[in-house]
Symmetry: C2
Subunit: 395 residues, 2 copies
């Protein structure tokens, strides 16, 4: 593949990202980082190629391109066959040997990192994953636009959900029709997640008792799944009157994701379920106001938990048989970015963080209720990137 | 989640797998292995739970279960909160401290392996990924049945492909309809791959010139994709008379996968393309006969390359602008298992290996042609797990 970069616009965008990564590198005292994961190559290169990006603290970055990827830009691209040749090229180009080199400890396999370490004998190695995650946590204007676009596609898909439903359907049958609408709207069909505890196709549809089944994965809501090889999400239950169906699909239309959840009821659901759903909306509206730059992230969690408690909904808040300890998370290229919105995260919110907030409730015998939006943090509170009606309507 | 094991049948199946892993552990001189990846927990545990499986060379394995996963079987399951508690439990239970402990260097992130290393201070560490991959390479009877079942579902889906097509469709529109049929047939919706160089939703649909576009990923065929964030597969081209469409979806109905490709023509395609397609079929039929236990795997590659050469198809064999160096690969829980069927793999075939063979051709201006089946190696040659008509028919 010939690498499709770089328009002048994209080049200046990548410079912005580079500056943010370098700020973290300075804080972490790294002389250079060598990036090899798909997500971080996409972040720093604007597209995905086979190879590595070398970022020294004080000189221009170099892109090492491995065939079949190919690039014409000789000023910053070097074709190599394998990573073992990188150090030599750096020497030829007069780059200083990095004493402390950052590698992606939490984005690459152990064997991949060990291989890269052997390419730099004598260097000290440190984790670059966290440096880059912290840089990625605060989005550029261009990234926000990408996410807004993603949110608009998501809303267009959610608007079609009532047309996907037919009486007597199972959860998985409904999910399949939604997936088709998502894909026809332009969803790329993969879900990028950080870490090793997330497996899912394009999202989750959960109804009735299944909402109360914990999953071994790190998702806020669980579900049994349809096979022991993928114990999460829809379990094949028929959508029955008196239950709710929670739909948490995950965008992914342009390299960025927004995370969005809406719920529908099948016929009437209990008063308790309705109240819990309204409580979720109230929590979000309150957080939309108080989530200003500088506010500790833990405050969002405690405020949400307090509202749930004051409305006597604590028993069902963020799970019933199994409770999770967060109400939201960063989102961007990956579904689960920094920050995690939990009680013990006292870091301050920053403008242009993008966070998905999902104060949800699991009501026994009914299912999960509540909503989730992806927001941008601004000086005036949260800007909703996934605007869509929030009411619990009959499907 | 409560772990759904273990029926007596599954228990004896897992004992078979354990015996194979132990054989490799002995060859690799490992005192024990500690398994934490999703795929290997599924292989050795029969389901996916949060936690670890500890396998000593000469004593019973122990399952360390982390909440919310939960198991009743007190004889071999221990609930722990985190991996740091594993060594202590082993001591309490009278298990010897492992001098040489195998960890999954090629299945876990660097940071995950480093964390596990710190749980066993003083131990020597070695790679367990390769030991387990070698064990998984030869399937049990139960695994073969799972894969046959998967192949039957695949064939049922492929039979519906002509009904998915409408004149004037793009490649991605056709793919979306096939995905829907796949999911309705029971496909779980994820594609498990080893390593870090594979990203794809449920398979690939490639037509026309797009077949000649290399991808940075490790797939046999490339494709441009529809966005720089996922440069592989369908690129949105309209399916035009005179081109071929290659459909390579990947099963995944029950925890196991089969890999299968069929091609259709849109109207008439060139004589060259037809001949190349027939050459692919001839190669497969020849390999079906000669692929016996004991035969070096490299022989399959060289035989295929020779047939392609003798029919003057070498220029198009396994790619045109970019050629890949293999014609097949193992398949099972993951899409890309051992062995790799390439020229320099001189290991012998073994009975009950399951391999996908895909001698394909890229014909300029037409597209990719050829087929792929997943086979089981038997004493009488290859048994096809994905039987389905092979002809290049008009879609």
């Amino acid at each position: 593949m010939t690498i499709p970069f770089l328009t002048p616009d994209l080049r200046s965008e990548l410079d912005l990202r580079l500056a943010k990564v370098r700020e973290q590198m300075t804080a972490d005292k790294l002389d250079a980082i060598l990036v090899g994961s798909t997500v971080n190559i996409y972040y720093l290169g604007g597209c995905i190629f086979r190879g590595y990006i070398y970022v020294p603290a004080y000189r221009n970055p170099l892109f090492f391109i491995i065939p079949p990827s190919f690039a014409d830009e000789k000023d910053f691209c070097v074709a190599v066959r394998k990573p073992e040749l990188i150090a030599e090229v750096l020497g030829e180009k007069g780059y200083e040997f990095p004493r402390k080199l950052g590698l992606e400890f939490s984005d690459l396999l152990y064997s991949d990192v060990e291989r890269l370490k052997r390419c730099f004998p004598g260097a000290e190695f440190a984790d670059a994953s966290m440096s880059i995650r912290k840089a990625r946590m605060v989005k550029t204007g261009y990234e926000i636009l990408k996410m807004k676009e993603d949110g608009m596609h998501q809303a267009a898909v959610y608007a079609q959900i009532p047309h996907c439903y037919q009486e007597g359907m199972t959860d998985i049958e409904l999910q399949i029709e939604i997936e088709r609408v998502l894909r026809r709207e332009g969803c790329l069909g993969i879900l990028r997640t950080a870490g090793s505890r997330m497996e899912l196709n394009l999202g989750s549809v959960i109804s009735g008792e299944n909402a109360d089944t914990p999953s071994p994965y790190d998702f806020a809501m669980g579900g049994e799944g349809t096979d022991p090889s993928l114990p999460v999400g829809a379990n094949g239950v028929t959508l029955k009157p008196g239950t709710s169906v929670m739909i948490d699909m995950n965008g992914g239309f342009n390299g960025y994701q927004t995370d969005m959840t809406r719920c529908w009821s099948i016929g009437e659901v209990s008063e308790l379920a309705r109240k819990a759903h309204e409580c979720s909306c109230r929590i979000l509206h309150r957080l939309e106001k108080i989530a200003l730059p500088g506010v500790p992230i833990s405050r969002l969690y405690s405020e949400a938990a307090e509202i749930a408690k004051s409305e006597n909904m604590h028993e069902y808040f963020m799970g019933h048989r199994n409770k999770v300890g967060f109400i939201g998370h960063g989102v961007g290229i990956e579904l689960n970015e920094m920050p995690v919105v939990m009680e013990r995260n006292h870091e301050p919110l920053q403008a242009n963080m993008t966070i998905a907030l999902e104060p949800k409730f699991v009501i026994p015998h009914v299912g999960a209720v509540g909503i989730e939006n992806t927001y941008r943090v601004t000086e005036n509170g949260l800007e909703n990137l996934t605007p869509f009606p929030e009411k619990l309507s009959d499907l």
